[in-house]
Amino acid sequence: SQTIHQWPATLVQPVGSPLSLECTVEGTSNPNLYWYRQAAGRGLQLLFYSVGIGQISSEVPQNLSASRPQDRQFILSSKKLLLSDSGFYLCAWSPEVAGENEQFFGPGTRLTVL
């Protein structure tokens, strides 16, 4: 069976510090991978998605970046965090891009920028 991991679970960082959140998927190959941000327990904002190693599509221009160094590893980064980067970050994967397939979400990382 497939599983998705995210770490850390919670993170408190000062403004201006760097960020690295990691997501890994087990039990599948060549998944589509996604990073979302959820503010105040409401809607999801798609940040990045990837259909393969080294292939990153950005949905929202901001001070965040993403990388996919391995097939089942997706990393969200920032060189300098802003207060507005606080939120709940969710990683997800799906089997393919046909549209019929649901996404499977990780447990999330709660980021607080002070």
Binding site: N32, Y34, G41, R42, G43, L44, L46, Y49, V51, S57, E59, F88, L90, A92, S94, V97, A98, G99, E100, E102, Q103, F104, F105, G106, P107, G108, R110
Partner: protein, 112 residues
């Protein structure tokens, strides 16, 4: 591309009563529609989806959803609500071949 809307921010029901969480869609072509649930401080969990076939789709935890083409709706329903059903519910649809777009979410509160 498809889009969905959830007209209610909050739905309150009493335990044991039926519940409905509303979703409407806008689509060109055949719609693919999904429902997810999110419990506090957790990731989203897939509940059910409509691809084609029967208009009534059954999913996890006793939930079902009815696809209504004439009303462009895909409402989530459960005959008898439980307190443990209290959570945030999201309707979703594929935006293009690569990603999915989610509604704003509806917070369901089931009171004992």
């Amino acid at each position: 591309a498809q889009s969905v809307a959830q007209p209610e921010d909050q739905v309150n029901v009493a335990e044991g009563n039926p519940l409905t969480v509303k979703c409407t869609y806008s689509v060109s072509g055949n719609p693919y529609l999904f429902w997810y649930v999110q419990y506090p401080n957790r990731g989203l969990q897939f509940l059910l989806k409509y691809i084609t076939g029967d208009n009534l789709v059954k999913g996890s935890y006793g939930f079902e959803a009815e696809f209504n083409k004439s009303q462009t709706s895909f409402h989530l329903k459960k005959p008898s609500a439980l307190v443990s059903d209290s959570a945030l519910y999201f309707c979703a649809a594929p935006y293009n071949n690569n990603d999915m777009r989610f509604g704003a979410g509806t917070r369901l509160t089931v009171k004992p």
